[in-house]
Amino acid sequence: MKKTLVLGVIAASLFSIGAQAETLRFGMDMNYPPFSKQGADGKPQGFDVDMANALCAAMKATCQIVPQDWDGLIPALNANKFDAIISSMQITPERQKAVDFTNKYYNIASRIITKVGTKVDQNTFKGKKIGVLRASTQEKFAKDYWGKDGASIVAYNKAPESFLDLKAGRVDAVFVDGAVGDQEFLKTANGKGYAFVGPNYSDPKYFGLGAGIAVKKGNKALAERLNKAIAEIRKNGSYKKVQDKYFSFDVYGN
């Protein structure tokens, strides 16, 4: 009797804490600068982090960022390690089978990076190696587009590792999200002599409708609240503030 009473009191107090300040846990791959990286002080930094905080502010909740390697994000979401994924994840039909998405929160095309002066068309990469992030939309596209034509697609666990190997000459090109390639490779000292070549790749069949926030399948309530929050920060200017901190162009797309 006493035990149930004590338990009841504990439960009630826990409940009231929960009601006061809701904590939303966001899973994020911390190796995708400028969208996400571990800062020098060990704290998460980047566009996705600021976006999460802006959304939480709009939802009057507290944000908690949970680091998780990219290829484990969706399994960890399904295992309830966090409530949502905000990690530059492109909305694709394949992923929609596993999770539910909000509307896009940005949409940036993917690009090929290679040595300056290389011409790119579907055949240029025959017998060449293209680095991609494992389990990314770029990997699927590259396999179908260049892989079928005799290019070998090399999958990396982290985007910076693919830049290291491009520089080292282990791959002939890297196919990557345009913003990541620009900020983290081309604009750094390492990227000298390299450039974007060829067109913007944004075929919705592969790259989906832009990056969305993933929630567990069936968690419509949270997806709706996040959609409202995205609409709100688009309107009240906090979206633009975050965008301008990292990019000099419109990342939302049309």
């Binding site: 290829d71 969706i74 399994p75 389990a135 990396y156 666990n157 290291l164 000459g169 282990r170």
Partner: protein, 243 residues
């Protein structure tokens, strides 16, 4: 629960059937793991016999460097060694412009170098330990026969030490089998690498790693059995006398 349909569907991927290609058309999966293991064990063992002789040498200019080598490679994780060799070396222009780059640019070669150095450090210590443990009777008998130091090493001490090293070496082989699972981190598709790829494609963690684990377990059982047979044959002289 366990998705048996997924396991049945993806099982050929562990045997080299990548992206719809027939089985064994690529070295992905089981074959890659066995290649990495066999090559690194072969080179590792070949290196470790002379190194073990150096390790027990009375000349400190020989013994000390070998001691340093085994301590450095046993004192650091194999993952760190692999990253230093694969990502670390490639940062230096002089490495990339040297003749060695032709080999070092391949992840496969880097993995074999890292694994070889690691296993040879452990194996050197195993063999050196058994050389020191050689029964004084064997040495006295060799000296009584008038053998020179090197003839004694070649005919008596080393063969005897290698036999007695078998049980410890079987452990090293099994540890190396499990150790090769880090090859996936430098873009190679060994058993674990294939499991990671399936995990990334299907978002299911349990089934692919369960299958990879079953492969490693089966290989371990096989190796244990092989070494038991080898010990029976080559270590029979240490066993109790049969009536």
């Amino acid at each position: 629960m366990i998705d048996f349909a997924l396991i049945a569907d993806k099982l050929p991927s562990f045997l080299g059937a990548t992206d719809g290609a027939p089985m064994m058309s690529t070295a992905d999966g089981l074959l890659m793991t066995l290649e990495l293991l066999a090559l690194s064990l072969f080179f590792g063992l070949a290196l470790s016999v002379p190194l073990a002789l150096g390790r027990v040498s009375k000349n400190k200019w020989i013994a000390r460097p070998v001691w340093l080598f085994t301590y450095v490679f046993r004192g650091t994780p194999m993952l760190v060694q692999l990253f230093i060799i694969y990502y670390g070396l490639s940062q230096f222009d002089w490495v990339r412009s040297s003749w060695a780059w032709e080999y070092l640019q391949s992840a496969y070669v880097c993995a074999i170098i890292a694994f070889t150095l690691n296993t040879s450090a452990y194996t050197t210590e195993i063999i050196a330990g058994q050389i020191r443990n050689t029964h004084w009777g064997e040495i006295e008998a060799a000296k009584a026969m008038g053998m020179s130091k090197w003839l004694m090493m070649r005919r008596i001490v080393v063969p005897s030490a290698l036999r007695r090293a078998l049980p410890a070496y079987s452990n090293e082989v099994i540890m190396m089998l499990q150790g090769t699972s880090i090859a996936g981190l430098v873009t190679l598709a060994d058993l674990t690498g294939v499991a990671r790829r399936i995990y990334a494609d299907t978002y299911q963690a349990f089934e692919p790693f369960l299958v990879a684990g079953a492969f490693y377990l089966t290989l371990t059982v096989l190796f244990v059995w092989l070494f038991k047979r080898a010990e029976k044959r080559w270590l029979a002289f240490l066993g109790p006398r049969k009536a």
